[in-house]
Symmetry: C2
Subunit: 317 residues, 2 copies
């Protein structure tokens, strides 16, 4: 049962039927009623794929996600959805595991018009490759693209990071451990972290107190296990409250005094444990990213991040 069947049965043409379906003008009352009756009687609904093909638009936005269990992505997705829904767009989840091949596949699907736009919450492929694909559709990334002319929504990490390190300095902590999710070379976030450190202390972070590929509670726990012996950090600057919680857990489990912690993302674990944190407002970032995607605007939007100070107490478990 398609639009032509309805046309034939009702005795009108498919264009008139189309007008009725789409609530357009230039349809007589009678025609509208006749056609609506047939539509109703035959329980007809139009086919969205055919409509999309004809219009050259899907109202879908692809969202590339390295992993879904991390709060960074959850918050971003929520923000994106909050902007997509009222605009009549839907989100297609594209898990990537940072795999460049998979990311390229998704990029090619943009060319193939599988979705109208694509948002990279994070990406392994180079910015140059992304630039090349801009001609095929709207591409938005979620970090600062620097000079490159690519649509981006991101959080300003510099200020809050610097604020956090200034606070660390003011407290005279000596052995500062930094936990990162990805290596310095490939991660802009890691670079911002180091930059803030340098700006504050005028020196490089201690490489012996550095750990990368830390993304979960368990990772934080394991990092602490490795680091607690080297130089015994008196503070951990971590990339997530959950991770800070993991560090804390290791110390508790081993009857060691819990060092100072700084988290990120303003997660529940930080609230519970009173760990100071940094709120990056990823929900807002997601909203902005989605707006850019929908309107196909190539510009950069940023939001401020906040260092949230909390007076961590030494909690016994």
């Amino acid at each position: 049962m398609n639009i032509h069947d309805i046309a034939k049965i009702s005795g009108y043409s498919s264009s008139t039927v189309s007008r009725v379906i789409n609530n357009r003008n230039y349809v007589s009352k009678k025609a509208r009623q006749d056609i609506q009756k047939v539509i109703h009687d035959f329980d007809y609904v139009p086919n969205d794929v055919a409509r999309d093909l004809s219009k050259g638009k899907t109202h879908n936005i692809g969202v590339v996600l390295p992993h879904t269990d991390h709060p960074y992505y959850t918050q971003l997705v929520e923000g994106i959805m909050s902007a997509a829904f009222p605009a009549g767009y839907r989100i297609v989840m594209l898990p990537s595991k940072f795999n460049a091949e998979i990311e390229m596949d998704y990029l090619n699907r943009l060319r193939r018009k599988a979705y109208d736009a694509i948002i990279f919450t994070s990406h392994g492929i180079s910015l140059n490759e992304l630039l090349e694909y801009q001609q095929y559709g709207s591409i938005v990334i979620c970090h600062n693209p620097g000079e490159l002319n690519i649509a981006a929504a991101y959080t300003h990490r510099e200020e809050s990071y610097t604020e956090a390190f200034k606070w660390i300095k003011s407290q005279n902590y000596q052995h500062i451990s930094i936990l990162l999710s990805r290596a310095y070379k490939i991660s802009a976030t890691a670079q911002k972290t180091f930059q803030a450190y340098r700006n504050t202390f005028g020196s490089e972070p201690d490489k012996n107190l550095l750990n990368t590929d830390v993304t979960t509670f368990k990772d934080g726990y394991n990092a602490a296990m490795k680091l607690c012996h080297n130089n015994q950090p008196d503070i951990y600057f971590t990339n997530g409250d959950d991770i800070a919680a993991g560090v804390r857990q290791f110390y508790l489990d081993n009857n060691l005094p819990v060092p100072r912690l700084i988290g990120q993302e303003d997660q529940l674990s930080g609230k519970i444990l009173n760990i100071p944190t940094i709120n990056h407002h990823f929900h807002e970032v997601g909203k902005l990213a989605c707006g850019l995607a929908i309107n196909n605007e190539i510009k950069q939007l940023s939001v401020e991040s906040d260092f949230i100070f909390r007076n961590q107490k030494n909690i016994e478990n």
Copy 2:
């Protein structure tokens, strides 16, 4: 640039080009090479929407989500994606806020072939309405549909709930507060909870110690605020570790002794605070649901849930 252009330029027909694109047999080596050269030279890629229309299949699965911030849904979505990805399917997020109208809209999009199947992680509309729509595509729900012949993947709550209540009974707790996300009448989960209570205690739960619409840390906090005066619960059976954490926080903030807590979902907060919990294995449920959706199988699959005992300590903050 479409398949006909490639056909014209290469001097072959569009069907031969199609065969090349899809790596089909019955194409001479020469034709394949000629065509591939043209495809390459003109940087041609096929259009996915046209393909979908022609094949009558989108490889998209809609996933209806009342809200995205709750771990129940996060875990489910992850599970669904873990099964969808290797099968070449993509997930379209469909936020519903339990709004029946929105849900109906999504159901109608299934009819319109916007996706091949739809998974309701939860739903406000009636099972009967879902049953009616089965003729239009694969529909999967994530709770026990009872006698109804509808595809479902779900967790067996009875055993773990009963185990939890039995433990409560063994400890002689008298004032048992129960926190629920949705009201008894509309929530199968609430009903299972009550049933387990009845089976264990042979009586109804105390209505004065009941709270519904509790879904977040903050809700748990507020529920505790309301309940701590009525009958002073000595244990809270909550619908999430985060919620239990909220209850705990209220007591701590008011310098009251923290009562016993039981959480659900095996969340990080429960791990940190050593709160006993119930793991419903929603990741696995999501996987199963996705399998049913893809294969259009109308059957019921269930997984066991586990009561995870932990020796909650009274933690000072």
